[in-house]
């Protein structure tokens, strides 16, 4: 029995969101008489942190503290339409919609403040701490709360905004048929190192090193948790999970978590991640989407690492010990490739 080390790499270009029907999402923003703001969405936060990110985007666009914004999600009866939380589209699509809605609400807020301060709205700015003042004259100031009260009870204005993001329809070049299926791409490269046991066919993860280019990391801790957790899911798809181990025969399908396997806390490996920020021109504050892409490069990198370790090329997933062992046997033993 020998354990063979191997190293493999993979790169991905990942289009953010999808293109069907323009992949739209909507957002509504309104102020309450307390001067706090509510963002209404139908989008769902599954734990990735979309509520946090849209809250940041709204606060930054309005020019108010993040504490003054509440994001109300996932009620499709009361919220405006959203296509859903998938395809890494939340930050980019919903974020852009929130930004548009907040920009419109900010316009009304500044007009209402201008009326109270008896100045031109173009001469006003927000301080990000809940006040609006005349540029260059911070003492000529009014709080967002007082503006909200004035708008509600005196001016009869709704400080609110509507936002939608819709991918523009791509033109098709009549000569070549060339078109642009997506407006925004993220990029990643990952190196996986594995150890393959040529007696059992088992593959153990040794380490991963990766670089992700995902626009501006609007919330670096949330980006990090997506990348770490997503890579784990990539390992799981590469080596463990399948509902149909002998496709298309369903007879041997897993019935529980003893048969439907996922890597446990003892199966993970060190993972060094570099985040490269190149703000996207059409992203909210340059953000793209660190969602699905964090699992994608892991699968081909692990497959390449197994080839590097024992010389077998497995092209269907997951790469189970059985498949590795059969492949090693059919080629008459492990054939370690040149170490790179």
């Amino acid at each position: 029995m020998t354990r063979h080390r191997g190293r493999g790499m993979a790169s991905v270009n990942y289009p953010i969101g999808m293109n069907l029907g323009g992949d739209p999402s909507q957002a509504l923003v309104h102020s309450n008489p307390s001067g706090k703001f509510t963002v209404a969405l139908s989008s769902i936060d599954l734990g990735q942190g979309m509520k946090s990110v849209t809250r940041q985007i709204c606060a930054e666009t309005l020019g108010v503290p993040v504490e003054d914004v509440y994001v109300d999600t996932a009620d499709s009866d009361t919220g405006p339409h959203c296509m859903g939380s998938f395809a890494s589209r939340g930050t980019h699509r919903v974020g852009n919609a929130v930004m548009a809605a907040a920009r419109e609400a900010r316009g009304v807020m500044m007009e209402a403040a201008a009326e109270e301060l008896e100045v031109n709205a173009a001469d006003l700015e927000t301080d990000g701490r809940g006040n609006i003042h005349v540029k260059g004259a911070p003492h000529r100031s009014i709080s967002t709360k007082d503006v909200a009260i004035a708008a509600q009870f005196k001016q009869g204005k709704t400080i609110s905004g509507r936002g939608i993001f819709l991918v523009p329809l791509s033109d098709v070049d009549p000569e070549t048929g060339e078109m642009s299926p997506a407006t925004c791409y993220a990029h990643a490269c990952l190196v996986a190192e594995v150890e393959v046991d040529d007696e059992t066919g088992e593959v153990a993860m040794v380490r991963m090193d990766s670089a992700y280019e995902l626009g501006r990391a609007l919330n670096p801790r949330l980006v990090e948790q997506q990348l770490v957790g997503g890579a784990w899911m990539g390992v799981s798809h590469a080596l463990y999970e399948t509902p149909e181990p002998y496709y298309p025969d369903p007879a041997h399908g897993p019935r529980d978590f003893v048969e439907y396997l996922m890597p446990g806390p003892g199966d993970i490996c060190p993972h060094d991640i570099a985040v490269l920020e190149r703000p996207a021109p059409d992203g909210p504050f340059g953000g793209k989407g660190p969602g699905e892409m964090c699992a994608n490069p892991v699968l081909p990198a692990v497959a390449n690492a197994i080839f590097n370790a024992v010389g077998v090329r497995i092209d269907d997933l997951p790469i189970t010990p059985e498949k590795v062992l059969r492949a090693i046997k059919s080629q008459g033993g492990a054939r370690p490739q040149a170490r790179r």
Binding site: L46, G47, E224, G229, D256, F257, G264, P265, I268
Partner: protein, 158 residues
């Protein structure tokens, strides 16, 4: 079917309920006592989301007959907070981003508490072993392991 009277301590408070024979502890806690913190995951002991402590030991409440708890002390996540303050483990989970969707979190916290209560200074391997019966779909475990180690470190310095 006749009901069996059952008394035990639930997070330091005496409770008395009537259970059908064969009722498991998870159902008793969630449906008869109203403590929704132990989660129903697989119902087969494969995921750890329903983990609770009985007399300080970790148990899968979905595989435990409710009557097993008679006269004993059952701890769930609902009893972890100390008054208005988060338990150091809860604080460490928040600080280390150790939850995303949160469904495994109650079970993870109970597994971690069972570990730290008997071994306040665990090694990384001991932490991994302690949560090896708990499945997490979101985090990749790294942040959970780090949170438990951080809570242990915090206890030492406190």
């Amino acid at each position: 079917m006749s009901k069996t009277p059952l008394q035990f301590r639930h997070n330091g408070r005496d409770v008395a309920i009537f259970v059908d024979g064969g009722t498991n502890l998870l159902v008793a806690l969630r449906e008869l006592i109203g403590d929704m913190t132990p989660k129903f995951g697989c119902g087969q002991g494969g995921c750890g989301a329903c983990s609770v402590l009985i007399d300080g030991e970790i148990h899968l409440s979905c595989l435990t007959l409710a009557e097993t708890a008679a006269g004993r002390s059952v701890e769930t996540l609902d009893g972890m907070k100390q008054g208005p303050n988060l338990h150091p483990l809860q604080r460490a989970f928040a600080d280390n981003f150790a939850a995303q969707c949160g469904y495994c979190t109650p079970g993870m916290l109970m597994a971690a508490k069972a570990l730290l209560d008997r071994n306040p200074q665990p090694s990384r391997d001991e932490v991994v072993e302690a949560i090896s019966g708990n499945i997490c779909r979101c985090t990749g475990y790294e942040s959970i392991i780090n949170a438990i180690l951080a809570a242990a470190g915090g206890r030492a310095s406190a």
